[in-house]
Amino acid sequence: MSILLNSESRVLVQGMTGSEGTFHTQQMIEFGTNVVAGVSPGKGGGQHLGLPVFDSVAEAVIATGATVSGVFVPPAFAADAIMEAAAAGLQLVVCITELIPVNDMVRARAYLASRGARLVGPNCPGLMSPGERSKVGIIPNQNGRPGPVGVVSRSGTLTYEIMQSLAAAGYGQSTAVGIGGDPVLGLSFTDVLELFASDPETELVVMAGEIGGSDEERAAELIGRGYPKPVVGFISGRTAPPGKRMGHAGAIISGNTGSAASKVAALERAGVEVADTIEQIVERVTARLRRG
């Protein structure tokens, strides 16, 4: 089992004919993902990477039965692409694009909520369910290994590094989800934790947060109310000064909200073991899984 994505998922890629879209679609196929179509307005009727290309998501869904979309379109068109996917009835939309205007995302997110579709991202590496041989996004294929750990993180490279370090210690992932570094996101830590809670394959969750916003504090509240699985936490940006945007648009301490200290304290109050380094994450995962 896994969350959000499995071997049954039929994936279409919006922006597949672009250079990023092409490269990562190839990688997704190589990993085993069931990619069924591409969508590029104006290029419908053609073929790309041996797959049919459509002018609209609606046409692609009718022809191929796609259930999931990966969005690789440029920032100016990304919010529209997300809404198009939801309007066509797709249940999961994964948006990799970064630098999307935040008010565009406010509208796109409200639109998705009204249609019951789920969004991962934007400005994220996507997600991967190694045991199901399925991924949507840009997580490097070699980092995936099937196993009992659910990974959820705001950062791309940290997700990869955590996956690799866990794999080196012999622990694979049920699903790894990069929720993204923007201020306005689709799925939050809380949403993903709830999904992991009811996934039988997931025995433990690694949650890697960072400064900015209060999604980590919300997650701590959820865990504090009684979470069925152990959670190992990690927060980066402990040395970040207030008011400075640390690379991610969402990684900024503003006023009294968003500091690493507040997040670490909230998680520890909820009984989460918070690791200081990635090596410590691996140690804690090892200790918890051995204890059973």
């Binding site: 100016a76 630098l99 205007p101 791309g156 306005v184 980066s236 970040a240 000064p241």
Partner: protein, 394 residues
């Protein structure tokens, strides 16, 4: 992009939000003739930060001569590091009451929030901290915007915590707030702003609602849609960034994601989360990071060279820590860039590199051949660079 007050108010006016009569002046002479037109005025420094009143950047002038004197003083000021490119002269208002009205991004709700308070004129952050019950909030549907009944309820909620007597009677206030809030929200949408704020929103004794001050922040990701504003900022843009960290200004010019932190260990990595974590590792080992620099995914040798060059512009830097996780980024590319940069820039400072992932072996071999010993783990690399910098200082 933060608009200066006079630019924000030009936007307010175009949306039908009332502002005091005013003129922009760039010389004391211009200020004097503006005051001749306007009568008694307030002269305000145009800088993109708060607290200018406390710094002496706001003065009342009753005569054109006083306006000349005030402008000549203010135009020479530097307010918290920011040069003053212009002053705004505005008619004096007959202030009955000061409110706060703002539209701002609420990350938790993933929507724009409308904030209204009768405790206006103060920093809203202070009000939010000390007496949060005095701020009424509304989170409109982003497609419909704030609806009239929602705005009336917002106003009633704010009134419930207001103290003292109101200048405007309730029916009048409810009627006036509806178009005002709709216009400010509309402006926020049109400008792709993450903040549109009127503080104070002045209620004059004659019962008008007038924007006493104006703050607008346009989302950096949407600037491409507002090239007219970027152009308009034109000559003021340099002054508007004069108080910013000059290393960060230079990094922006070079298109690099860099934050100056003031320590002595330069940090370069790929991915925002990874770089933040690298800073944390340096601190855990007792070191002090000089900067945050994210070279992003798939960086080529040339980008690595530029990053090193940027870090070295900071004279405080005494050692460099490069932390690369290879996903799309290839270890051999990074290694080539590092070696090339070290040789070209003749870097003598301690340089510690940790790399893992794609083409790790090739990258490490290249580094070793060039005399740069790659570290085994990130914590080990952090310890080494901190030790080397401390050792060099002795």
């Amino acid at each position: 992009m933060k608009l200066l007050e006079h630019q924000a108010k030009a936007q307010f006016r175009s949306e039908g939000i009332e502002c005091p009569m005013g003129r922009v002046a760039r010389t004391p002479g211009e200020a004097e003739s503006a005051a001749r037109e306007l009568g008694g005025v307030v002269v305000k420094a145009q800088v993109p930060i708060g607290g200018r009143g406390k710094a002496g950047g706001v003065k009342v002038a009753r005569t054109p001569e006083e306006a000349h004197a005030a402008a000549s003083q203010i135009l020479q000021m530097e307010i918290r590091g920011y040069r003053v490119p212009a002053v705004l002269l505005e008619e004096l208002l007959d202030i009955g009451q000061e409110l706060y009205l703002g539209v701002t991004l609420d990350r938790d709700r993933r929507r724009l929030a409308v904030l209204l308070s009768f405790a206006g004129g103060m920093e809203i952050e202070d009000v939010a901290e000390r007496t949060p019950e005095k701020i009424a909030k509304l989170w409109p549907d982003p497609f419909s915007g704030p609806l009239p009944f929602e705005i009336r309820q917002l106003t009633l909620n704010a009134l419930a915590s207001a103290q003292g007597e109101q200048v405007l009677e309730r029916s009048r206030l409810l009627g006036m707030m509806v178009p005002l809030v709709q216009r400010l929200y509309q402006l926020c949408q049109r400008l792709d702003a993450t903040l549109c704020e009127i503080n104070p929103l002045v209620v004059t004794r004659s019962g008008q609602l007038i924007a006493g001050d104006g703050k607008v922040e346009v989302d950096q990701n949407a600037e491409y849609r507002h090239q007219d504003l970027v152009r308009e900022l034109g000559g003021d843009a340099e002054a508007a960034s004069s108080g910013d960290d000059q290393l960060e200004v230079e990094a922006r010019r070079r298109g690099l994601t860099y934050v100056h932190l003031g320590g002595d260990i330069g940090v370069i990595g790929n991915g925002a989360g990874l770089v933040m974590n690298t800073l944390d590792l340096v601190k855990q080992q007792g070191g002090s990071p000089a900067n945050f620099l994210d070279i992003g995914g798939g960086a080529k040798a040339e980008v690595v060279r530029q990053a090193l060059e940027m870090v070295l512009l900071d004279p405080e830097v005494k050692g460099i820590f490069v932390n690369i996780f290879g996903g799309i980024t290839r270890g051999d590319e990074v290694a080539k860039g590092l070696i090339q940069a070290r040789d070209e820039l003749q870097i003598k400072l301690p340089l510690v590199v940790r790399m893992t992932g794609t083409r790790e072996e090739e990258g490490r071999r290249l580094l070793e051949e060039a005399g740069i010993i790659p570290a085994v783990s990130a914590p080990e690399a952090a310890r080494r660079v901190v030790e080397m910098v401390a050792g060099a200082g002795r």
